[in-house]
């Protein structure tokens, strides 16, 4: 059955999904085209109860795909469960997750920790896996456990790795020009001014995909207002019109003159390229993007280094950062529950994370018993800086309603970046608040 497209409605009878699909728009067809890619993988047979499972994967880029392949191979070797992987382009996978989980999902699927998982767990689309965690719980620190729980306190995800959002730079550039690593906001602004004098773009930045700028919002909010306020804001327990949010945008406006212009029309991959070519001095994004892009482009990864975002308010110092964790969930509609849980138990070990990270040069393991011999300098430093945090956030579109984040907040932030005036800040704050009121009272 794995040869069939995995998304969409069951073939027999007209379900709500059909109504939705027909009732939506013709444009839905556009979304369906890339789904055909899902047909290409798999072809094995799986009877119910047999020790064979299907695994829906959004690790569609070549590097993570090969790392994921190594992981499933190791899992099969250890558990004797045959795994059929169904790889789907990650944007397509994420955009169709609601229909996917209600249709005929794979037994296991790749997903994200935090609120972004809780939303679907609350809707009853993800199965609780407390029994798996009884066995693997000892392998993980408390912070990872907290990330893996739904709002009801049950476990729903087994994380595989996480990665920090930090400021990247080329060591050679800093050496050549004699730059110092900034530890405070003022030092960073001074450094930016110096870089501009030296003909560099201080911060490389690409915001076409809508989400990269959300990371800047996160870190400024975490630095200026602390973790608790940030999480409350994410779940709309604090209004977006709060003056502390205004402060964040005002601070951001101070930084924007030093950020690559025209960012709303540039993909972040191209922004990384300006850092690679040393036209830019720094770039603030996740290792999962910047370091991964260096590997993809065959750029000099050894020259790449990073520092933690400078302190703004001494109250919060450098205590928090975004360190999103990715992992695996069991679909509520899974057909092969027992073998799937067996695989999850294996994935929740340091050994499995080592197998995954053998082919991954930018993420880091979460399990405490993972001893990864293949870590490079970036990864070793990532482990350190994440450990040094008092708490880590996931990312704006993982800590808040993802649709609200990726459509609404992203659009507001785009508007701000293109015109960072007090008037814009005021208008987007009130607009965000008005929209949040609708989104967060909706039934989920």
């Amino acid at each position: 059955m794995q040869g069939q497209p995995q998304f969409g409605a069951p073939i027999s009878g007209i379900s709500r999904r059909d109504i939705l699909k027909l009732g939506g728009v013709a444009a839905l067809g556009i979304a369906a085209v890339p789904l055909l890619a899902a047909c290409s993988s798999g072809g094995g047979t799986s009877g119910s109860g047999a020790s064979s499972i299907t695994f829906g994967s959004n690790y569609s880029d070549p590097a993570p795909k090969s790392a994921f392949g190594a992981l499933t191979k190791a899992a099969t070797k250890s558990t004797k469960v045959k795994i059929d992987v169904n790889t789907v382009d990650h944007n397509t996978f994420q955009n169709n997750i609601t229909s996917y989980l209600q249709g005929t999902p794979n037994d296991l699927f790749t997903w994200f920790a935090g609120y972004r998982m809780q939303v679907f767990a609350d809707q009853g689309l993800i199965a609780p896996i407390d029994d798996v965690w009884d066995k693997i719980g000892k392998n993980f620190p408390d912070s990872a456990k907290a990330l893996s729980k739904g709002t009801d306190g049950h476990y729903y995800i087994v994380p595989i790795y996480n990665y920090p959002w930090v400021v990247f730079y080329n060591k050679s550039t800093f050496q050549e020009k004699g730059y110092q690593i900034p530890t405070t906001w003022d030092e960073m602004i001074t450094l930016c001014k110096q870089m501009q004098k030296d003909g560099l773009i201080p911060f490389a930045f690409g915001q076409q995909d809508g989400w990269p700028a959300l990371g800047t919002f996160d870190i400024l909010d975490l630095r200026m207002n602390g973790f608790d306020f940030h999480m409350k804001l994410m779940q709309h327990k604090v209004p977006w019109t709060d003056s502390k949010v205004t402060d964040v945008f005002n601070k951001w406006a101070e930084l924007l003159p030093y950020v690559q212009t025209g960012s709303t029309g540039r993909i972040w991959q191209d922004a990384v390229k300006t850092l690679e070519s040393k036209k830019a001095g720094m770039m603030f994004q996740g290792t999962n993007q910047v370091a991964a892009q260096y590997v993809t482009d065959n750029a000099d990864l050894d020259d790449l280094d990073f520092f933690v975002y400078p302190e703004i308010d001494p109250t919060w110092a450098q205590d928090y950062m975004d360190a999103p964790a990715d992992g695996f969930c069991l679909a509520k509609k899974a057909k092969n529950v027992d073998p799937a849980k067996k695989v999850l138990e294996y994935i929740g070990t340091g050994q499995a994370e080592v197998a995954y990270l053998k082919n991954d040069k930018w993420d880091v393991a979460l399990a405490t018993d993972a001893d990864v011999p293949t870590y490079n300098a970036i990864q070793k430093k990532s482990v350190e800086v994440i450990k040094a945090c008092k708490n880590v956030a996931q990312f704006l579109d993982r800590d808040s309603d993802p649709g609200f984040a990726d459509n609404t907040v992203a659009a507001a932030v785009d508007k701000f970046i293109n015109s960072p005036t007090p008037a814009t800040i005021q208008s987007i704050q009130s607009s965000l608040e008005a929209q949040a009121k609708t989104v967060f009272t909706a039934a989920h």
Binding site: G24, Q94, Q208, D414
Partner: protein, 321 residues
């Protein structure tokens, strides 16, 4: 089907003193085979029409009165709340409407007249007119998605043709797609590039169909080319003109693919369109089917206006005939 039968039956009978028995006799004129044929020929398109046009359209409208998120039962019913949200809260709604209107205006006032002008010029049997025809028609044979990719390469800030030609390759490189003040214009140039060829080929076909004796008669009467076109040819081409107007409006409202390609699927500031907003809300991680449907309904209502005008026009003509 009943309609057809009645028409066959009534026509010549009108005013007959004893209509009932005769009508029944006439009805029987439709043999069993005719009836089956009618059922098949009308029934299949009717079913297809109901299933693929009316059902989704009506469902969309129904869903627009809910704030359903795509999971579980269709609820809750919220009346016109989603419409209020669009009209008063959503900061992307009015820009999207405005951009759709700009699209229609640019197509209607620039692209379409330009295509007609080219057609008229090419119709004068210039030397090499076939080559020009092929050149202008070429973009029409490409899908809009492909045109999006081609123009994306031209507009690229870092390695695009246009910035290279302008000599702006350094820090002053223009960001054609990212700049919210430029990007709609940039996309419209690309879309018009195709629209011009499309209109040209339609109009050229129409012009070729015009009876040459009309032109000769006009010339004999002493009309100059300008007068010949506006007073003689243009009125004769009325059916083509109506088709072109309808195509212009429909192409403008269904604008989607080219923007989708250029913006990589996200709604960029400056490039908001109703169709982009609909998909943003209907497909996505946390879907807002209710709101997406409300936007789709707004788009439907807007589309109905030109369609109704077109239908009224063409039916009125039929009645006259």
């Amino acid at each position: 089907m009943t309609d057809t039968q009645r028409r066959t039956a009534i026509g010549p009978d009108a005013g007959s003193a004893a209509p009932t028995p005769r009508r029944r006799r006439r009805l029987r004129r439709l043999t069993k085979r005719d009836r089956v044929l009618l059922i098949v020929l009308l029934g299949i398109p009717l079913l297809a029409d109901l299933a693929f046009v009316w059902f989704p359209a009506v469902t969309s409208v129904v869903l627009s009165f809910t704030s359903w998120n795509g999971v579980g039962a269709i609820q809750p019913w919220v009346g016109t709340q989603e419409y209020k949200f669009a009209f008063t809260v959503d900061p992307q709604f009015w820009p999207a409407v405005l951009h759709n209107v700009i699209w229609i205006l640019v197509f209607g006032l620039i692209a379409t007249p330009l295509g007609m002008l080219i057609a008229v010029i090419l119709d004068r049997n210039l030397k090499g007119s076939r080559i020009y025809q092929s050149v202008f028609f070429m973009p029409v044979m490409l899908s809009l998605a492909l045109i999006g990719i081609i123009w994306e390469l031209m507009y690229s800030q870092n390695f695009g043709l246009i910035n290279t030609l302008l000599g702006r390759t350094g820090g002053d490189a223009i960001n054609w797609i990212g700049n919210p003040n430029l990007n709609l214009g940039a996309v419209l140039v690309a879309a018009s590039w195709r629209q011009v060829g499309y209109v040209m080929i339609l109009y050229l076909a129409g012009l070729k169909g015009v009876d040459t004796s009309l032109r000769e008669a006009a010339q004999i009467d002493g009309a100059n080319p300008w007068q010949t076109f506006w007073r003689v040819i243009f009125p004769v081409l009325k059916p083509i003109n109506v088709v072109i107007i309808v195509i212009t409006v429909i192409e403008s409202l269904r604008a989607y693919d080219i923007i989708y390609i250029m913006s990589h699927g996200t709604v960029l500031p400056g490039l908001e369109l109703l169709s982009m907003l609909v998909t943003q809300y209907i497909i996505g991680q946390t879907t807002r089917i209710g709101y997406g449907s409300a936007l789709a309904t707004v788009l439907l209502v807007i589309s109905l206006v030109p369609i109704i005008i077109f239908l009224v026009q063409s039916f009125r003509k039929e009645d006259k005939a």
